[in-house]
């Protein structure tokens, strides 16, 4: 029962956040496009040899940041060299890119190529 309520609360919170996000985005579009775009956090956590979330959808011009939470170094390398690759990220090191042309981009860790992820860039 308690978990149910908690989940519900989470859902409500999430809805509020999503709505807020939309408002911010709308505001950003009208008033200060660049600044608002920079404020949105597209974070991908690298943990247990996985990119999390494995697929992320962002808007062109937004930044995407990877952070390595493993004790093992990882890299972020675009399949087909569509965007700049990271150097080896040690524990807690970050790598940030700005999303460019709309499209679907796949990437992987060149050290552990089983690790793959996808970025969907929307207009």
């Amino acid at each position: 029962m308690i978990t149910f309520i908690r989940k519900n609360k989470k859902a409500v919170l999430l809805t509020i956040l999503v709505v807020l996000n939309f408002c911010l985005a709308a505001w950003g579009n009208d008033v200060a496009r660049g600044a608002a775009a920079g404020e949105r956090q597209n974070k991908i956590e690298i943990k247990d040899f996985m990119f999390n979330p494995p697929t992320i959808t962002v808007k062109s011009g937004e930044t995407i940041t990877w952070i390595n939470r493993d004790e093992e170094p990882h890299t972020v390398v675009s399949v087909g060299k569509k965007f700049q690759k990271s150097s080896a990220l040690d524990t807690d090191q970050e790598f940030t890119i700005t999303a460019g042309e709309p499209g679907t981009y796949t990437y992987f860790c060149s050290v552990h190529p089983k690790m793959t992820g996808t970025i969907v860039v929307e207009k």
Binding site: P73, V77, V111
Partner: protein, 322 residues
């Protein structure tokens, strides 16, 4: 030992059972000598050997495999990897008959940093055995495609392509392969066409009775593909070696002793001198395995290999650092 003997991956059950070999996985810290006697693979623990004094008395060639020193690593699994590497070197220096040379099967460093390579080179100066043959691990080629590694560690060999080579010692043909570069998304370790063509040509002129030792970082057999523990095109490489009577494959990368025999080919992975990794599939990821401090050294180690002319099989002995 008996409790730990089981088949990990029965990739190709043909041949082995017919020949009466059995497959075994020898876990880290046990110290096992493998020999072929009357066509049957026999294993003995180091304790048994000490008792019976049955270690090959006179050998024509003995060399030592060290692996995965990960100089620069300083996380919980081992905060002082230089200290454990030093212990490994002390063990080598204390051997009554020093090995002819060392083979380092990669991951010299944690992050391919020049200062990490410097530390490794400095530590190695204390080793009585001076000849060392290398193959790179993925940790040695992180940011420059292996340029720095090649400049430092291939001076004494005639390396081709991204750093593969072969050499002969006492009638044994050694082949160092690179399977950590130009990896493809979603894939495993890879040798690539150029290297495979070179390998085919390299062994072409050799008699089938030439003992072959192949060494590379990532296992050349499929240990556990879910963790990337295998090499996608290793089957092709092994195809070129099929006609040889004795092939010994030495790998690192997985920081634990695993062994498999397939026909005339013995596959063996070595312990690390830095930190252990979990057994295949026993953890969410293959990241460094944290063990109690008093247990660490029993899970680190090195591998001694001995060859006596006339005996087709090479004796492979693992010993830990405790």
């Amino acid at each position: 030992m008996k409790d730990h003997n089981h088949i990990l991956h029965n990739v190709d059950s043909d041949g082995i059972d017919r020949r009466g070999f059995f497959k075994c996985m020898a876990w880290a810290g046990t110290g096992v000598l493998w020999t072929v006697s009357g066509g049957v693979l026999v294993s003995k623990t180091l304790a048994q050997i000490a008792k019976a004094g049955s270690l090959p008395a006179a050998t024509d060639l003995s060399f030592l495999q060290i692996s995965d020193s990960h100089i620069g690593f300083s996380k919980d699994a081992n905060k002082d990897v230089t200290a454990t590497f030093r212990i490994a070197l002390d063990r080598i220096n204390a051997m009554p008959t020093p090995p002819s040379f060392l083979i380092h099967t990669g991951d010299i460093t944690q992050l391919s940093k020049p200062e990490e390579f410097d530390t490794f080179d400095q530590l190695l100066k204390s080793c009585r055995t001076k000849d060392v043959f290398y193959v790179p691990g993925e940790h040695d080629v992180l940011n420059d495609g292996g340029k720095l590694y090649r400049e430092r560690y291939l001076r004494s060999v005639e390396a081709k392509g991204s750093g593969w080579y072969s050499f002969n010692k006492n009638g044994v043909h050694f082949i160092g392969l690179v399977n950590v570069l130009n990896l493809e998304a979603g894939g495993l370790g890879q040798l690539g066409d150029e290297q495979l063509e070179w390998l085919e040509a390299d062994v072409k002129g050799l008699g089938a009775d030439t003992p072959i030792v192949v060494f590379a970082h990532i296992p050349l057999w499929t240990v556990y593909p879910q963790w990337g523990w295998g090499t996608s095109d290793s089957e092709r490489a092994l195809g070129y070696l099929k006609r040889f009577g004795s092939v010994t494959v030495l790998n690192g990368h997985i920081h634990q002793v695993l062994q498999k025999v397939e026909g005339n080919v013995t596959f063996h992975t070595a312990m690390s001198t830095a930190f252990p990794q979990p057994a295949p599939g026993t953890a969410p990821s293959p990241g460094p395995l944290k063990v109690p401090a008093e247990k660490l050294r029993s899970m680190l180690g090195l591998t001694s290999v001995q060859y006596k002319q006339g005996n087709s099989a090479l004796a492979v002995v693992d010993s830990n650092l405790s």
